[in-house]
Amino acid sequence: MNWAEMAVRALIESGIQQVIYVPDNALIPLIDGFRADGRLTVFSASREEEAIGIACGAFLGGQRALVMMQSSGFGNIPNALASLAVPYQIPLVMIISERGALGEYNSVQVPITRVIRPTLDALGIPHYTLTRPDEVDFIARRITSQAFSTQQPAAIILSALLTGGKQDR
């Protein structure tokens, strides 16, 4: 099993039923994996903030949701986290594929990536960065169970060390 297959299995077995994403190359195996399962509702949102709102609605309606985005898309979501998910104590899991590091060729991708972890820390949102396939299953399961047990959002950041990232052509 590769890292993406392990992540999909761990998150589905952790009860994720809705997957809302704004796509990224590194997320392709996850999007395809969740789609292939057939039991989940998997769809794109126009903007990452909207995906956070949908995920909050999913929880209010009795389901568990995952939001997937690229690191640049994280810049679109702080208000939805800070004014909705965090103060209402609405759990959801985010997967953020990291650009702007480890061989980034586009300078505009770099600054927002530096913002992600300090922003999550400031909001009190736990986050883990996946770099190795052997950690994927444990971290995906535990971060999800903690999020829903403690009623808080949580984030998984996918390093290029795991996904291969994106290189200049």
Binding site: G15, Q17, Q18, T41, F43, S44, A45, S46, R47, E49, E50, A51, I52, G53, I54, A55, C56, G57, A58, F59, L60, G61, G62, Q63, R64, A65, N79, A80, S83, L84, P87, Y88, Q89, I90, F148
Partner: protein, 201 residues
């Protein structure tokens, strides 16, 4: 020609229409009240356990309603939001069309103003027809309510026909009449117990 002139219907009152909407809901329908006057008048129409009140997060009412409607396919979900809030997040309309939920209805109270911050005009005053925008996004059942009775007919249609539905309503600038309690965790908890899902997820 202004949007108002093209529209040609009555300018109505948000609290009156919220009361009329609530009176038609007899099967535990969920309502998401957008920030500001949308949820002030939702509260003013009388608290229901199936109401979810937003305290911030401008533009997130439709996404929240979409998530609830997906999770609760047997329950009709109504989202009440203002023109300013919807303008902040117009991208949600194509998503609603794409997911094509039968049980979701969006009601937009269009007073052509950012009323709560001092009544600054929004583009719907002169330029933007939100019902046309919704249709263009792919929500086929999108209509302006021409008068109070017509609004009730559109709500009845939303209760019986497959959605998604979009109901545009021109409203006056009367201030909202009540306030929900400003305790987000209690608002969440009441709603989830109100629709019977507390502890399910």
């Amino acid at each position: 020609m202004t949007v108002q002139a093209r529209f040609g219907g009555e300018v109505m009152n948000r609290l009156d229409l919220t009361r009329r909407l609530v009176a038609l809901l007899t099967h535990g329908e969920a309502i998401v009240g957008g920030i500001g006057n949308s949820n002030f008048d939702l509260m003013g129409a009388g608290h229901r356990p199936e109401n979810f009140y937003m305290l911030g997060s401008m533009g997130m009412a439709v996404p929240i309603g979409l998530g609830i409607a997906l999770a609760q396919p047997e329950r009709r979900v109504f989202v009440l939001d203002g023109d300013g809030s919807l303008l902040m997040n117009l991208g949600c309309l194509p998503t609603v069309a794409q997911v094509a939920l039968k049980n979701l209805t969006i009601v937009v109270w269009d007073n052509s103003a950012y009323q709560i911050t001092g009544k600054q005009a929004t583009p719907t005053a002169e330029h933007t027809d939100l019902v046309t925008v919704a249709r263009g996004a792919g929500i086929a059942s999108a209509e302006w309510a021409k008068a109070e009775e017509h609004f009730e007919q559109l709500v009845e249609r939303a209760l019986h026909d497959d959605g998604p539905h979009f109901i545009g309503v021109r409203v006056d600038q009367s201030p909202g009449q009540a306030r929900p309690e400003r305790d987000p965790v209690i608002l969440k908890d009441r709603f989830m117990r109100g629709i019977g899902v507390k502890g399910m997820n």
